[in-house]
Amino acid sequence: MLVSLAWSSLASRRKSVILTFLSLLISISVLLSVEHIRQQAKESFNRTISDVDMIVGAPSGQLNLLLYSVFRMGSPTSNINYKSYETLKGSSLVKWAIPISLGDSHRGFRVMGTNNSYFEHFKYGTKQPLTFSSGQPFNALFEAVIGADVAKKLNYKVGQSVVIAHGIGNTSFTHHDNTPFIIKGILSPTGTPVDKTIHVSLNAIEAIHLSPAKQAKLLNNVDSVNTTPESITAVMLGLKSKFSTFKLQRDINNYKADRLMAVLPGVAMTELWQMMATVENLLRIIGILVLVSSLFGLSTMLLASMAQRKNEIAVLRVLGAGPSVIFSLVLVEALILVILASAAATALLSLTLWLLGDWLGATYGLFLNANMLNVETLKVIAVITVAAIITSAIPAYEAYKNALHSSLGAKN
């Protein structure tokens, strides 16, 4: 009855209520989206790589190495010798090594040279291995395995042939027209940059950069030209024992034959997050301020309505409603507005994320879950509700005082 009374009361003040509702909707959406994107981005970052103990590349910054080797962002500054990879692979401390070679792209998707150890050892999320939704790993020179998003976006099927261009970007000037690749396999979706990568063998990367004459020769006879690469971009390592991590890292950093740098993915990830933390906190504070201002708006709206509701309160008093009922009535009105606005904001964001999900993933590498109904969202909504109760206690108290002093036949 109280809720239905509060609802009718709100409905009778439609205009100011709708404006207040919109202001709440916007501020709650801002706060929820900041929180959601923060959570999801962190989750999506952290699930990109798992079970890799060390990444080895040319000396630059550890963030730089992490960004290009794992997130396929930015470009490697220089390469490392292929021999170094072989040395690392042969080390008694190393369980497995995945070589990667970056620098090419195909219609906006990165092309990565690697070998079959990638499909065997690379893990993401919570130690989940890569699986094939169709096809199998490449085994011949001009074969490629594509990520789920690549297959979906470009509508590629197993068995189709594609042409890989040199350089990064959608329109590349030097198309390697002579060297078409056959799609050999399509990976299952992972929600990581793997989905947006085209995987070929290291030798294939070498082959597409040969002179046209050599390429023609190679197409005639695969074994006629040596396509063993001289250099690669980075190596991902799995160690036999975690205890040897620091020893190996020191050895690699002091390696004389090549200039190498080894980074620990966990440490680099943490550094990346610390960098984001400032921005993250700033966004959060802005979100909170916007929310506070619209809660004050709600409180003002209710307070302003008190003058015109004196009679209404007197009537309720006479019918036997105690001052506490009047207090609750105002609180219930505020809660109805805040809960409706929260629900609407959740729905609105879910819809927006669902509609923009592909674009965000393709443009910013953000893989956001469109489902907003999780514990974190509920926590934020709970905090908003408590804040709303606190701010609307002001008009509720005003109504309570009105109720205490309202007397019958109060002349208007």
């Binding site: 009855m1 239905s4 009374l5 009718s8 009361s9 409905a11 009778s12 009679n311 209404e312 007197a314 009537v315 309720l316 008093r317 006479v318 019918l319 036997g320 409603a321 105690g322 001052p323 009922v325 309202s406 007397s407 019958l408 036949g409 002349k411 208007n412």
Partner: protein
């Protein structure tokens, strides 16, 4: 007219004893009624000049104001000494109140307004709609009015709905404060006849406050507020 006309056998609806009320704590003089009694089923016309204290007395009887000293007993039960919560409940269940105007919550339908009275009285009456229809018919209002918003009715209709709302919980005491001041003469007389008839029919004690002496004709008993009151300062 004597203030005590009740015999020991008829139960009292209102019994005021040594009531004293100050508008502000610092006031030297106070509103003071040494003794006043109304028997159950009686209809009393309470008149007096503006500012004579009619409305204050009504507020005290409804329990919205509480006396600083003295007692008000309603329906042979202590009333002014109850806790405010119990007093609110007693009022909801036993007292019907009709104001001069603004009796209804404007944005609610007539039915919702009436249901609200029943909700706060916690009578658990499931047949409110039937009873409300019967009351509206008795008050010569069409039952279709139930679904209309209160602020779409004419003032005369609103006052009659207010009576129906005041009677929905079958109160034993009805307090009415100048309900006809916004009505023209013809509708005023019709309204008064209906009100008195309904009260007689249901055995309801009515305290009717007005400064309009013309209305005295509808009542058997008429009391001037000034005669009830004695300034405490002038008492001794």
């Amino acid at each position: 007219m004597p203030n005590t006309i009740s015999s020991a056998s008829t139960p009292l609806a209102i019994h005021i004893d040594q009531l004293s009320y100050k508008y502000h704590k610092a006031d030297k003089t106070s509103f003071y009624i040494p003794n006043w009694q109304v028997t159950q089923g009686e209809q009393v016309f309470l008149h007096g000049e503006s500012g004579s204290g009619k409305t204050t007395l009504l507020n005290l009887l409804a329990g919205v104001l509480t006396p600083q000293s003295g007692d008000i007993a309603l329906l042979e039960q202590a009333f002014s000494t109850l806790s405010s919560k119990k007093r609110d409940k007693f009022r909801a269940q036993n007292i019907g109140v009709v104001f001069q105007q603004f009796n209804l919550i404007p944005y609610l339908s007539v039915l919702k307004n009436i249901q609200l009275a029943s909700y706060f009285a916690k009578t658990g009456n499931t047949q409110i709609e039937q009873y409300a229809k019967a009351l509206l018919l008795a008050l010569k209002l069409p039952t279709t009015i139930l679904q209309k918003a209160a602020n779409t009715l004419s003032v005369g209709q609103q006052q009659r709905v207010a009576i129906a709302r005041a009677l929905i919980n079958k109160p034993k005491l009805l307090l009415v404060d100048e309900p006809t001041s916004a009505l023209d003469a013809a509708s005023r007389d019709a309204f008064m006849t209906l009100l008195i008839d309904l009260c007689k029919q249901h055995g309801i004690t009515l305290v009717f406050v007005s400064h309009d002496m013309h209305l005295q004709q509808f009542f058997e008993r008429s009391v001037n507020v000034t005669s009830l009151l004695k300034e405490e300062g002038s008492k001794c």
